[in-house]
């Protein structure tokens, strides 16, 4: 255990610590000035002496947060996720994280100060931002797992409150069962859906819909300042005055059964933006070789079951293990369905004019590195995304691999 610097010290010979900005079960944060860049930053140290947790647990979670923040930065970062500037050590070897300084309050403190938000437009805006941040994390194979008010800062930007996710010590990658690592907690907080609290005891899969539940509960917290553990909560049943569309979105997002919630944060973002609780257009996929039908929503992913990585919305078994954990993602762009390839081997779409290869950047770089052919049948660089029409066929890995879907859209 190391001595933790105090306000006034120069940490790592560069960061002048100012006031203590916050403290939790694993880390404590200081507002600081980066003397080389003359910029305000925040420094996080392990909170050995101010926490009731054991030192080894504090260290484990502190390092986990460092790893997660580094992965987020590698993925390009997100405006609603705290940025990591440096992962370093103080002069005495104490690990420290230099992160973005967010000028604001933790969400629970902010609501305690101001009371529930009276302007429901602000509630909607915060919901949209949180959905966007969660979609970004999922696309980068991370699950936040513990979304609750004291893990979110509220900053005033552009004249409105903007949420920023700050604590990543419980965020993690999914394991091969589709469950988040170390997720066997039995604590059922009001922000946690049953499939997370009951991990290991239930067949219900954790997935993008798990974060949807937490966002729904946070919206209720913004409207009232407290939340129950109960599922399927309609704010108007609790005496809260808010627009019916918003009440219905919160009620849908917080359903017990995950298949009755919005499928993912992308869909929830769209219904908030549209001020209409009705989920956007859905499409269907028919797994030709197995005769199975699936309904898809914008943002849904298709991939391999029991693979290491994030849980796809639709998980199929693949003994050959050529299908990626997340092979493709579906979305609607300018009113048209699109397929985006996120695999390592590529995906093919049959549009009537032959099979068109679609290959994401990661897959292309991998094939090039292995000396394999990353081009399409015309010898061109394949597109990373492709517009879909009713009746198109989608073949994972290769048309001859034997995993082919027929696409049908409602519109």
């Amino acid at each position: 255990m190391s001595t933790i610097p105090e306000a006034g010290d120069l940490a790592a010979g560069r960061y002048r610590l100012e006031a203590k900005a916050g403290e939790g079960g694993f880390a404590k944060a200081y507002q600081a000035v980066d003397t080389e860049r003359d910029e305000l930053v925040a420094i996080k140290f392990p909170n050995y002496e101010g926490s009731s947790n054991d030192a080894d647990i504090i260290e484990e979670y502190f390092l986990k947060e460092a790893e997660m923040l580094a992965r987020i930065e590698e993925a390009g970062g997100h405006p609603n996720v705290m940025s990591l500037y440096a992962n370093t050590e103080d002069d005495d070897g104490t690990p420290m994280l230099v992160v973005e300084f967010i000028d604001g309050y933790e969400l629970d403190d902010a609501i305690e100060r101001t009371g529930p938000l009276e302007d429901t437009e602000h509630v909607r805006d915060i919901g949209i931002d949180l959905c966007d941040a969660m979609s970004f994390l999922h696309e980068n194979e991370l699950v936040y797992r513990d979304l609750k008010p004291d893990n979110v800062m509220i900053a005033q930007r552009g004249g409105r409150p903007v949420p920023v996710l700050i604590d990543f010590n419980t965020a993690t990658a999914f394991d091969s069962d589709g469950h988040a690592e170390d997720s066997g907690t039995t604590i059922l907080g009001p922000y946690k859906p049953r499939e997370v609290a009951d991990a290991g005891e239930t067949d219900a899969r954790q997935g993008p819909w798990s974060d949807v539940y937490s966002i729904g509960k946070i919206l209720l917290f913004l409207l009232k300042g407290t939340v129950p553990k109960k599922d399927g909560v309609n704010p108007r049943d609790f005496g809260i005055e808010c627009d019916p569309y918003l009440a219905e979105i919160v009620e849908t997002a917080t359903q017990s059964a995950y298949d009755q919630r919005y499928r993912n944060a992308t869909v929830m973002k769209q219904v908030l933006e549209a001020r209409d609780p009705t989920p956007p257009a859905q499409a269907t996929l028919t797994y030709i070789q197995q005769g199975e039908h699936y309904t898809i929503s914008p943002g849904d992913t298709l991939g391999r079951r029991f693979a290491k990585g994030p849980t796809p919305s639709i998980a199929i078994e693949d003994e050959g293990e050529y299908i990626s954990t997340v092979q493709v993602q579906f979305d609607i762009v300018d009113g048209q369905w699109h397929l985006q390839d996120r695999s390592l081997n590529g995906t093919y779409v049959q549009t009537g004019e032959g099979w068109q290869r679609v290959l994401g950047e990661t897959g292309r770089e991998r094939l090039e590195a292995q000396g394999e052919d990353p081009t399409d049948r015309h010898g061109n660089t394949p597109p990373t995304s492709y517009e879909l029409s009713a009746g198109d066929l989608i073949a994972l890995v290769h048309p001859s691999y034997g995993v082919t879907f027929e696409f049908e859209s409602e519109s």
């Binding site: 009731s52 947790n53 979670y61 005496g239």
Partner: protein, 356 residues
Amino acid sequence: MHQDGKIGRAREGVRWVCGLLDDEDYLTIISFDSDAEQILRPTRWGEISRDEAMETVDELTSGGGTNMYDGIEVARKALASLADREGMDGTPVRRLLLLSDGKDQHREPHEFTDVAQAVDNQGIRIEAAGIGDEYEEETIRTLGTTARGKWTHLQEPGDIEEFFGEAVEQAKSVVAPDAQLELDVAPGVEVSDVYRAVPQAQEVSLDWEANTAIVRLPDLTEREEQRVVMKFHVPAAADVDQDGESGPLTLADVTLTARGGEASETITVEYTEDPDKLAEHKEAVQLDHQQTVIKTELGKGNVEAAETKVEKMTKIHGDDAKPVDELKAETQLVKEGGRAEQSQATQIVTDDDRIQ
């Protein structure tokens, strides 16, 4: 706080609780000022519209006087009648949620023990809360402790919703009501200083039936830990062997019973004169007990008693022991604070709470 402010918050609290009810739940609302009045008879939530219920809630007004005793009696009878209701499947889980801002003008705090006991005997738990500066803390504490619920002081906006909301949600997750520990104590063994530590630090009076001591527990609920601490006074060792050892001697056969099942365990002790074994000290057990005793005193506002015990603890365990440090800080908070700090002091951090 202005009177209308408190009654307004009380109404909001009831609206919140109503949001947690399912169709098969029953709700009754009793108001009390100089008299107690049932403003909503026990009503199945599925048989009343939310608007009708809210109209009733709007009838809650602040009047003069506080006849809490009669209010509790009316509520007890109303809740007791539910058990006999036609179509009721088994004995229902019942909660009396009590909110008061005033001092009962007819009764002293100790007189509430009997009425709380009567409520408890019918399987009804009391969750008691005081609001404002004028209520009698001891009365609220007596009601919550005797009827195996919790007691608290409500201060911040949202506190009413949180305290009573949690009580209702816990009631919905009861897996075994009317729980108790039965300690079949060996001759010569005495049990004393019994406390419920979790969910709230509360002193417990033991009921004795022959050699069996009974510790009444809050209803057992899904995923909730309970912790009880107590002291055993054991007789001197008999039949010691040449190493000065004897035993194990059974101190008590412990049975946890609740409606729906039971589990048993035996507590034993071994005697020794071996200095190495005697040097093994299970400090955590002692700290747990002392922590609970001190937190119970802080809950009562007995800062001086708490300070004396913390001082004694420091001498035995040293300044470095984490619980000692935390208790010092907490005692200071209660000393400088008010009723909110007192009720907060009765919460003990469990292992589940640590990883946050």
